[in-house]
Amino acid sequence: MTLNLNLNAHLPRRSVVALATAAAMAALLPGMASAKCADIAGKGDINIVGSSMPSVQHLAKEMETCNKAGVKVAIKITPEARVETERAFGSDGKSAFDAAIISGGLYSNLAAKGQLQPMTDLVAKYKTKFKIEDNMLVKSNGEVLAIAYQQNAQNLYYRKDIFDKLGLKAPTTYAEMLAAAAVIKAKEPSIDFPIAQTFAKGFDISTEFVNLYVGFGGKLFKAGTAQPAFNEEAGIKTIELMKSMLPYMTPNALASNSDDVMNQFQQGKAAMGVLWASRAARMDDPAASKIVGKMEFAAAPAVMPGGKSATHLWWDGVAMPKNLTNDRDVVFQVLMDALDEETTKAGNDSTIWIRSVYKPTRFGTGVVLSMKAGAPIWPTEPYVGLATGELGKMIPEALGGSMTPKQALDAAAVAYTKAATEKGFIK
C-alpha cells in the first residue's frame, strides 16, 4: 500500500472553508465543548439577576449554553442588581427573578426580612451529584439560605520593587505603613503620593471606616440593640488615623473610588494601599498598567501592633426567594450546575473561588493572608447598611475639616437613628 502524500494536491475549496471554520470555532468557543443543564430533571423558564462582576459574566456565559429541552435560563446583568433583587424578593406577588447572585451584605438584609427560600433539603438531595462543598453553605440557625461561591476582601497592595530598593518591609501595621510612606515620599522622586486608598464619599469611605474601627475595639452598635455606638472614642481614633493618611494621598482622595485607586496604581503614581482583591489581576494588564509584575499583595495592615488585619471578608453567592415562580427544585439544579467544578476551573482567574478545585493565583494571596491574620467577616446585622450610609455622608466632612470627628460621628448617629426607626429596627 502506497502512501499517497501528494502535498500539492488541491483540496476542494468548500472543504478548506469548512475545515477552517471548524478550526476557528473550536478555537474561539471552548465553552461549547461542555454545554450546561445536560442532566437536569424538570422544566422551567428561569430568570436570574446579578451584578456586572467578572465572575457573574463568566457564569452567565456558561449558563447560556444550557441546551436541555424545556429549560431556559436568562441572566440579567445590571449594576442595579441589589435594588432589583430587593424589589423582586420583597414584592407581595411573585418574584420577577427565580434566583439572584447576592453579596453577604444583601444576604443579611434579605435573611432578616425572611424573604429567602430555605434550601437545606435540596442541598441534601443534590450534594453528591453537584459536589456541593460544606464551606459553600451559608446557614442561619442551621437552615441553608444561600450558596456562596466567591470571596473577596480589601488587602494590601505594595510595590515590591520600590520597597526593596529602599530597604522597606511590607507594613503589618498602619504605623509602619505611614513610616514607609514618609520614606518613599522623601526618597522616591517618581512618587508624590505614596498611599492610594478608596476614600470616596459614600460606600467607599464608610467601608474604610468600619475596617479600621473594629481594630480599635469599636463596636458599631450597643450590644443586643440597633442603637449606634460608633460615635465614641474608637470612632474618633479611626477618623484621626484616616486624617493622618491624607498628607500621603492625592488631594483628590475624597473623590477616589476603586477605579481611581486602581488607575493610580497602574500608572505607577502610588506605591501602596488597601484595595479590593478583585482588582489585583488588573495590575498585570499590559494594556492599562505600567507596572506589570511589580505589585505584590499582603494582608491588610492592622491598626495596632499585634492586632487583627484591618479588613473584612465578603462572600458572594446565589439565593432563591420564597415567592419564586418556577419549581424550586429545577432552579436549584440550574444554579448548582452553573456553579460546578467545571465552571470554576474554566473561570479560575476571574475571581477567588471558594471551591477546593480553585487554584489560587498570586492575586488571591492578599485575601488568604488577611484571613490568616484574623480578619473578621463583614458585620451581618441587617441595619449595618443604614449605619454605613450615614457614616459615608458625614466622614468626608470630618476629613475635609468642616466638622470635628466627634461632630461628624454624632451627626451620623442622629441620622442613622432616624433611619433605623423609620425601618423598624429601633422602636
Binding site: K201, P228, T250, P251, A253, P382, E397, Q407
Partner: protein
C-alpha cells in the same frame, strides 16, 4: 369645532397624560405621607458562612401565619417633608423619646442642621447650575449660530454636525470623558503641570462645581445653537436692507432687527433649559458622586436607592416638583398674559 371632534382630537393626549403624569403624581403624593416598616424582633442567630460559625444577637422580621414578614403601614402626614427639609431635629418618626446619642456634646442643632440641609444644599446647587449655565448657553449658542450662518454653503453641513455632537453624546459617556480628562493623571492636569499650575479638580467645591457647569454649558450649547440658527434663517431681509440703507452699523442691526426677531426663541430656549437643568443628574453621579455638588434629582435617587426608602424619596420628589413650579411661575404667567391679549 364640534365638541365631539374636539374630544376625539384631544382625548388620546389627555388619557396619556392622566395615565403617565397625573396618576403617578397622585400616587407619589400618596406615598409621601405614609411609611411602611417591617416589624422586627431581637433574636439570637447562629450564622454559618464560608468563614466560620458565629453566634450574633441581631434582628429578624416577625412572621405571620403564612410565613411572610409583618408590615406596619401608617399615615404620617408631613413628617417626611419636615425631615427632608431638615425642620425636625431629634424626634424619630414613631414619636418615641428623643434618642440620647449626643450626651457628651452640644452638637445636636449643628448635626440636625447639617444633615437636614441636604435638600436645601441640593436645591441651592441646582439653582446655581441652572442660572450660571443659562447665560453662557445663550451667548455661546448665539455666537455659534452667527458664525455658522456666515460660513460658505459647502462647509455649513460639516459645521452644523460638529456643533451638534455634544448634544448627541449620551450624558453618562460625556460626563465620564470629562472626569477622565480632569482626574489625577488626566490630560488637563498633565498639561497644566507644564505651566506649573497644579489643581486637584475633584478635591474642592469650586473646581468640582466648575466642572459640572462646564459640562452643562458644553452639553446644551448645541441646542441653543440649532434653535437660534433656524431663527436666523427667518430674519426679515428687507428690514435688514432698510437698516443698512439708513446707515445702521452691524451692532445696531443686531440689536434692533435680529435680536427682537429672535426674542421668542430665546424665551423658548430659556424655558427648556431651565426645566432640563433643574433635573441635572448624570454629571453629579458620574463626575463627583455627589461630593460638593448634590442636585435635587440626585438626592431623590439617593434616598430611593441607597437608603431604600420609597416613602421619603416620594417626599423629596414632591418637594422637587414644588421647586420647579415656583421657578416656572413667572414665565408661565407671562405666557398666559400674552395668550389672553390674543397673539
Amino acid at each position: 369645532m364640534k365638541t365631539r371632534s374636539f374630544l376625539q382630537f384631544v382625548g388620546p393626549s389627555v388619557v396619556m397624560m392622566m395615565l403617565l403624569l397625573a396618576a403617578p403624581l397622585v400616587i407619589t403624593f400618596y406615598l409621601s405621607v405614609r411609611n411602611c416598616a417591617i416589624e422586627m424582633e431581637i433574636v439570637k442567630v447562629e450564622e454559618s458562612t464560608p468563614f466560620g460559625v458565629k453566634e450574633t444577637v441581631t434582628q429578624r422580621a416577625k412572621m405571620d401565619a403564612k410565613g411572610r414578614a409583618i408590615q406596619n403601614c401608617n399615615f404620617i402626614g408631613l413628617d417626611y417633608y419636615r425631615k427632608v427639609l431638615g425642620l425636625d431635629d431629634a424626634a424619630p418618626i414613631e414619636g418615641g423619646p428623643p434618642p440620647d446619642v449626643t450626651s457628651a456634646t452640644k452638637g445636636i442643632p449643628a448635626a440636625g442642621e447639617k444633615a437636614g440641609n441636604e435638600f436645601l444644599g441640593a436645591l441651592r446647587f441646582t439653582l446655581i447650575y441652572t442660572f450660571v449655565t443659562l447665560p453662557f448657553v445663550l451667548v455661546i449658542g448665539f455666537l455659534l449660530a452667527l458664525g455658522v450662518n456666515s460660513v460658505s454653503q459647502r462647509l455649513k453641513g460639516v459645521f452644523i454636525t460638529a456643533s451638534l455632537l455634544p448634544f448627541i453624546i449620551t450624558p453618562v459617556v460625556a460626563a465620564l470623558s470629562i472626569k477622565w480628562l480632569f482626574r489625577d493623571n488626566g490630560l488637563v492636569p498633565y498639561l497644566l503641570s507644564h505651566f506649573g499650575i497644579q489643581v486637584f479638580w475633584m478635591a474642592q467645591a469650586w473646581s468640582a462645581r466648575l466642572l459640572i457647569v462646564v459640562y452643562g454649558v458644553w452639553h446644551v450649547v448645541p441646542f441653543a445653537f440649532i434653535v437660534l440658527y433656524a431663527g436666523l434663517q427667518g430674519v426679515p431681509q428687507d428690514a435688514l436692507e432698510a437698516a443698512t440703507i439708513d446707515g445702521a452699523s452691524r451692532w445696531q442691526k443686531m440689536r434692533y432687527v435680529t435680536l427682537p426677531h429672535l426674542a421668542p426663541l430665546i424665551v423658548f430656549i430659556t424655558l427648556i433649559h431651565m426645566m432640563d437643568a433643574y433635573r441635572v443628574f448624570e454629571p453629579v453621579i458620574v463626575l463627583t458622586q455627589g461630593a460638593f455638588t448634590t442636585s435635587v434629582q440626585y438626592l431623590t435617587y439617593h434616598i430611593l436607592l441607597q437608603e431604600n426608602n420609597p416613602y421619603k424619596a416620594s417626599a423629596a420628589a414632591v418637594l422637587t416638583l414644588i421647586g420647579i413650579v415656583f421657578l416656572l411661575i413667572p414665565l408661565l404667567v407671562k405666557t398666559w398674559r400674552e395668550q389672553k391679549q390674543g397673539v
